[in-house]
Symmetry: C2
Subunit: 382 residues, 2 copies
């Protein structure tokens, strides 16, 4: 299958590119290094430096024999989009090409505007390009569980049947996010749903939880093929921040009461979900939505797991509470469905102690790179 | 009160400016002539030409003694937004500054992109400016009933209590629109709701129906103060198109079965609703939503009313059916609530025969200006 991966230099884009090319697909990756440029501007580079995308394609070719073809450019520009789609007509498009940091998106006027325009114009151009160049292609779009927020009702997979005054209709599940980044994903969903109905496009929208892990089947033994490891307050997940805090000898910092509960999944399961979605595409004119995570943890639970795993590598960790810089509920109901991908064949890799120890050991090897003031900089979300 | 009207040259912006300045408010209007420029580019100018905004402010001053201060510029640009808000700190902002045509928004790649960027960046900049320059100001934002689409359940005023698996939460009423223009208004709502929660802004979002009428208390006797009269397929409502088709001797063209039902209101009632909203503002941190229309009509009902009113001005009109260029349901349930504004004091001006005759007579006076191929050009919505 011919597969186009947008945001192919990213934390998930690059592992996806290797994984799908190893499976025999014809893979083209596109990236404009937005994430690398932002982390440099904000002085929050990842734990270890990585070769650029063109270099990584060469390294992967040398080690695996598989071609991954890179295009470097900005998908907000229509001329570049045309260049890509005129030279490669995909059967499937995996769209990761968005500014993914919630704190960055609400940092100031310019970062907010960049997030809004980048995310919406990129998605807009992808939809336009599908309509013009490959109307039968299948778009696999990365959404986020954060689109739903933390409602007081069970979260279904994308849709909800609503009965009101004895009449019933089916709607997109109500979405209500806590940051501009998450809101751009809602706006994407609105726009995608319009174009699915208007043009009969086929789309799978994956409402993904927080992804952890660095190792996949394709990058064992060559650290140059690892994904980025972000541990800063802007781009690092709470799990990565806790891992690095543990190794750096910092207490784990819990925002507020620590009851904030989210869905998590292993990076290996992201790869499984993408492959399952591509190999079992949505129908023409269908917007199919899956909730993509395998377990839920509260921040308190996560801190306890990492505190315990740290003992295995002989590290004693304290847990501390601090004022929450985010506007979010610190205690809330959270019961999201996540059975559809399992029914399609997903075999979950859970967050075991082994997985945490592996991440702690990787971080130990790069301990000298840790810049402590990247971990916590107190960016207010509002 | 100091009131800033964005899109002050538009069909509703200009009548609102006169109305609020006549009521003693201090009014500044902003416009970049986007609508005038587009109608010229697309060769779909309104039925009669009007003086520019600066000239209209002078004419209004001469006839009423009231000052309305015009700023000409594009609210997508932050430097211009800063200039406006640094020189005038409003108590209320009326935001009409959006590309309002559904057919234009889906005409081609460029018109779609213009609609998306103009509407979202303008709303984004307004929210940013409120946060920075006037966090206590009240934003009165024009939404559209089209955000809801035509669901199979009763449409409430903006919000819906949803019970699911024995638990309940309150959400934005599900929105699902039929064009990119209407979808940008949904995306606006998502973005506004985020910033109301994040920054405690006060916002009234008016889900407006189709507005008709040219005459208000302020423009009687001076045609240079009338609002635009659009009768083309892109910017004209179905009511205006029917009026002009009647006078031009065309049959009234009904798309498909003609059961498409929408909410309508008189332009005088738009002015009442804006004034009521401004004088009874939303609370800090509240997103208040009203459905702003007074009656619903199907396209078939509207055609019959105009056919009947045309007899008063001695015009015989036929009604014809044609293939629907839009993707929309031609027969559907439609029961939207619209009591909140009436409870606040709105006294509706209904669509009487007198109102239609007045519009037919106005059109008769400008009959020589009618360019017949503007009325129907078969722009596909998809």
């Amino acid at each position: 299958m011919k597969i186009l991966i947008l945001g192919g230099d990213g934390y998930l884009g690059w592992p996806t590119a290797m994984n799908l090319s190893a499976a025999g697909h014809d893979v083209v990756v596109v990236d404009n290094y937005l994430r690398r440029n932002i982390t440099q501007e904000e002085s929050v580079e990842p734990l270890y430096a990585l070769p650029n995308l063109i270099e990584r394609c060469k390294i992967w070719k040398a080690s695996s024999g598989h071609d991954v073809v890179p295009y470097i450019g900005d998908l907000q520009g229509w001329a570049f989009v045309e260049t890509v789609f005129k030279s490669f007509t995909p059967d499937a498009i995996v769209h990761y090409a968005e500014q993914p940091s919630a704190p960055y998106s609400t940092k100031d006027h310019n970062t907010a505007r960049l997030t809004l325009t980048n995310n919406l114009l990129t998605t807009f151009n992808v939809l336009q390009a599908m309509h013009m160049f490959c109307p039968n292609a299948h778009l696999v779009k990365l959404g986020t569980m954060g689109e739903y927020g933390t409602p007081n009702i069970d979260i279904e997979e994308g849709w909800l049947n609503v009965t009101h005054n004895d009449r019933t209709d089916k709607f997109l599940f109500p979405r209500q996010a806590g940051s501009l980044y998450h809101t751009t994903k809602i706006q994407d969903t609105d726009m995608i749903w319009l174009h699915v109905r208007m043009w009969g496009l086929r789309v799978t929208d994956l409402m993904q939880g927080l992804v952890y892990g660095e190792y996949t089947d394709e990058n064992q033994g060559d650290d140059r093929l690892l994904p980025h490891f972000a541990y800063d307050e802007m781009f690092g997940t709470v799990l990565n921040r806790f891992i690095v805090q543990a190794i750096a000898g910092y207490p784990l910092t819990i925002y507020g009461k620590g009851g904030q509960t989210r869905g998590f999944l292993n990076i290996k399961d992201t790869l499984q979900c993408i492959k399952l979605s591509i190999e079992n595409p949505a129908d023409q004119g269908e917007l199919r939505i899956f909730n993509q995570f395998t377990e839920t943890f509260s921040v308190n639970e996560l801190a306890a797991l990492i505190q315990s795993a740290a003992k295995v590598v002989d590290v004693d960790v304290e847990v501390q509470t601090m004022e929450n810089p985010r506007k979010e509920l610190e205690e809330h109901y959270y019961n999201p469905a996540h059975t559809d991908l399992v029914e399609m064949g997903l075999k979950p890799n859970f967050l075991t102690e082994d997985v945490l120890v592996e991440l702690l050991q990787l971080t130990l090897r790069h301990k000298d790179n840790i810049v402590q003031d990247r971990i916590f900089r107190n960016v207010k979300w509002a």
